[in-house]
Symmetry: D2
Subunit: 347 residues, 4 copies
Amino acid sequence: MIRVGIVGATGYGGAELIRLLVGHPHVQIANLYSSSAEGESLEKTFPHVSGLGLPKLAPIDAQSMSKDNDVIFLATPAGVSADLSPQLMKLGGTKVIDLSGDFRLECADAYRSWYKKEPAPAEWVEKAVYGLTEWNYEQVAGASLVANPGCYPTATLLALIPLMQKGWVKPDSWIVDAKSGVSGAGRGLSMGVHYSEINESIHAYKVAKHQHTPEIEQELAKQSGIASLVQFTPHLVPMTRGILVTAYGQLETKVTQAQAQELFEATYADKPFVRVRPAGTHPHTKEVLGSNYCDISVHVDERTGRVIVLSVIDNMVKGAAGQAIQNMNVMFQFPEKAGLPLVPVFP
Amino acid sequence: MIRVGIVGATGYGGAELIRLLVGHPHVQIANLYSSSAEGESLEKTFPHVSGLGLPKLAPIDAQSMSKDNDVIFLATPAGVSADLSPQLMKLGGTKVIDLSGDFRLECADAYRSWYKKEPAPAEWVEKAVYGLTEWNYEQVAGASLVANPGCYPTATLLALIPLMQKGWVKPDSWIVDAKSGVSGAGRGLSMGVHYSEINESIHAYKVAKHQHTPEIEQELAKQSGIASLVQFTPHLVPMTRGILVTAYGQLETKVTQAQAQELFEATYADKPFVRVRPAGTHPHTKEVLGSNYCDISVHVDERTGRVIVLSVIDNMVKGAAGQAIQNMNVMFQFPEKAGLPLVPVFP
Amino acid sequence: MIRVGIVGATGYGGAELIRLLVGHPHVQIANLYSSSAEGESLEKTFPHVSGLGLPKLAPIDAQSMSKDNDVIFLATPAGVSADLSPQLMKLGGTKVIDLSGDFRLECADAYRSWYKKEPAPAEWVEKAVYGLTEWNYEQVAGASLVANPGCYPTATLLALIPLMQKGWVKPDSWIVDAKSGVSGAGRGLSMGVHYSEINESIHAYKVAKHQHTPEIEQELAKQSGIASLVQFTPHLVPMTRGILVTAYGQLETKVTQAQAQELFEATYADKPFVRVRPAGTHPHTKEVLGSNYCDISVHVDERTGRVIVLSVIDNMVKGAAGQAIQNMNVMFQFPEKAGLPLVPVFP
Amino acid sequence: MIRVGIVGATGYGGAELIRLLVGHPHVQIANLYSSSAEGESLEKTFPHVSGLGLPKLAPIDAQSMSKDNDVIFLATPAGVSADLSPQLMKLGGTKVIDLSGDFRLECADAYRSWYKKEPAPAEWVEKAVYGLTEWNYEQVAGASLVANPGCYPTATLLALIPLMQKGWVKPDSWIVDAKSGVSGAGRGLSMGVHYSEINESIHAYKVAKHQHTPEIEQELAKQSGIASLVQFTPHLVPMTRGILVTAYGQLETKVTQAQAQELFEATYADKPFVRVRPAGTHPHTKEVLGSNYCDISVHVDERTGRVIVLSVIDNMVKGAAGQAIQNMNVMFQFPEKAGLPLVPVFP
């Protein structure tokens, strides 16, 4: 049993980590940290965790945090980890899995430009491992600091990497039209999460400006050796959880449906959390809700010469807390599926 | 006051026609027709129309229909109008506005291939006018038989035509990622409209196979003189009403945001039901709910050389019954806005 | 054409007044007032009203308000009208319809106790007319200051008054279990309207403590001459609009289903906005959405000796803006239905 | 490890049993049965269970079923178990947990009258144990045939029994106003589960006629020794999962909030799946979603002399599959919480 600490326990990412870790066979939730509610019981914020005997919320203090935990999850807004993680790394004693975007972008200018903030110190950005488990398994296994992927990049990269590794798609042709539930916006208050404004409505946001764009391009380039240009558009859907990515690529060469299908099936045959759906089907986000799966179907349109990939995840699980735990499992040599529910909550 | 008949009154299209026509100053709902519930009161199917004194549901009979109405709306499944409209046209006496797809496709083979049905007689397909009011105003004004546009094509064509008329976008680059509420699927029962399956979930359907694809391509070509190849993907969103089209085009030439903005504003300046939103904004489907508006915003992404157009309508209004009434207004020289609500139901 | 002013135009009540008044044949929206956004265009807050040519938002100033309007609607939070309405009344020149609770409770102590605020001046509370149009038609016709009923009391009183006037129900037996959509909570930000918290969930709130309780009891007593004790429990339902009241009363005497049915049908036979449903049916809130109807069905349970009344309204229309306009129509001798849509938005 | 069989695997009850049993440490899902899809893989019906290696769907055959399973769950429509369970009981070899209503009502006439069907054979009805685990633990431990409680009765009885055991409430005063998500209606097609009809709407149904009424009255009488008369009204809420019961009882005697609070806390102190909430709070159904909890808060209204109890469950878990597994745990001396998730899925 390892001791786990969670920073940002009063947010949705923190709550989801708790949901999954309470049932994890090799883990003890040793500490919960919050800058806003220290000394309080988490039940006040989240009645749904009543009766679990969770530790009280403790203040954020790098010194004690590094001693009291074997691994710390940071489920905090952009900018917090940039400061806190290097402190924890220097103190040693604990590994860190950062769910924010602070250590994902290798290029400091890209971070500045897309996040409108100062980036984390370069030396630590360099040491951080991008935790897309299916593609960076070995590096994650040896990592002390993991940059857990963003929700959109997770669903997107699992869909695009196989095709780009083959060189089947024109690298500047990618259009990623993504649809997300509202929980991705977090627990903070804004008109963007006001029920009466969001319910029974769909809209795009941050067209051409979303900070997950450079993350997708960076990792796609690293995995495939080809620099791609990705048009990424997120949309807000009136549902709480779930992301659907509809990705369009112009084929470089003739590829049949059977070839594309085979490529995906072969690529993910031994990956427990990626399920390739039969040809001609369309995954629903609800079919992975509450689970760590990414379900993918691939469609070749001969009429237009394009490949369309559909990819669904639960943004709170494979898009955040679940993948973070999957990475922890790899870092501590636990079974990759430990503590991760195997059946989605349906309906 | 003209006499109006509605065929398919027990469906959602019929119900929406009634909602709008009850308040129309120049119209009397003279007859309601239904093949499934003749002789019954519509209140049994739709309690929401109780107390309106609507006529009882009458059986479908071309002879009497042609005599008893000045205009007939057909809100019927594919295939019904192909048979009924030519009968009514031959009898004369009434104009017809067909909300189904039976008279939209000029090419019989395209109809067969995408609808998997036999097309309507070619002579009548030829005489039918495609009722995209903003672009075919003159033809609609003189028409006896109007093929009312599909919901997806309406939102798509209003977004694409201005750009293709200018020749600014590569004609084979169009990707139209469309999102629709569930009412578009109609009132029939299927797992595709089962609440527990659809709620809290989003999915694509009919990837590369949706029958609105050739309709979009045909009308885009007619309005611009350029044959485009359109990748069209519909999605089902957990909401009742609303369509959002996110359309992506590769620019042929350098176009600035200001130029694109100006193009749309100029094009639709005198169209009462198309509202061009300010640069940098993202329309929500809810902001047109219950109204006949199509709200559009245009975004140029200099980084990728693409134009992205966002277009929202209420699929039941501008995407069906509202546009049908707009066409009726034009056909009978009523004010174009007559009977059409000017303020969306928000929130 | 009379000149109408709306205070609180940036809230949902204000938006709904605008939606309905834009189509009203005898009214011109002359002025919009807002304390938070003066000088701005309302389109910035509400893109759905773009292109309507509405007046800019003006500051709240009693002097000019009394001169520039024939009637003013106050769609403001509790406490604002208590101060502003007496000023307007003293200046004369305009009538006032107050959508807040400030002038509804005749007993100052009741206001203090349930609203936790100081009440409006007693002399003006006395002069205000409670605007439950169906039951106070004559008083409303002669009123200068109308206290528009609360959303819950509207649905409740229309259901209970007929039975209490007959003396058929034990006055201390009433249980009113009410369910409301989220728009009733307004446009302000709070965890109580946070999408991810509210969606896919239902909960009761303010059990035994809701401020609409004394309003219901007061008006029920006035209309029936019997003091009732009402157990009122509101619930928040994951939908934007709509209120369903399920009211339970213990019968004093044997009443058959037929008698109860006849009572309601006779009572509301000539009321254009109350529709009594057939015996054995259950109205859905959606069947009145967007309209000013209150649909009612009554059920007698012989096994338990109770009468159960189901009553549905759109909280934004009959529960607020619609009834306010209905009252305006009566105050200015316009047709009672003028400007009020006659067909709900379904589905 | 025991061998478990599930009948009705293609329904929602079956799917939820699978979700929970896949993670159960002492159980192997040995057989899935379906009358409609034998020989097929369940993935065709439920893509969300892809990749789990579940057995193929087998035909219903009592002989082999009794041999191949240690316990069988029947998640079947009313009437199926009445016939099948006695066969299985006579063959011996397997225990049966019936999620339908066939063995819940002891009185054959009550079954006939409320279910409009012929009841199961009296001798087996007599032998069946009503599986409200918290109150029938000992009987369940020794049972071969368990009648798993209905969803509404579960939430209701856990709220009412403590008060009736004390004799604090007038037995003919109970009003149970219940609100349920749509999944309770099952996977079959009907207008009652049509998305566009149900979404954004709430309605009551089966007023005074719901078949869970006699079940509640029977068990309340058995646990308290007092015959109660319960007014039960179910409502359909636009959400997939969750039940909220708002129960109103007239106090026989003066009871303070503190006394009521203490009663509930003491009663359920050692019950792992009933959580009594602090005084003054209101549980949300979402706060138990996906879990086997029943969360309860109790409110005494001194003004009206009533007690109001709020009780929330996930209808698919504590209201069906979860409680069935809780009963299995008790029948096989597994830890009561085995296989049941301890943290709800929130948000």
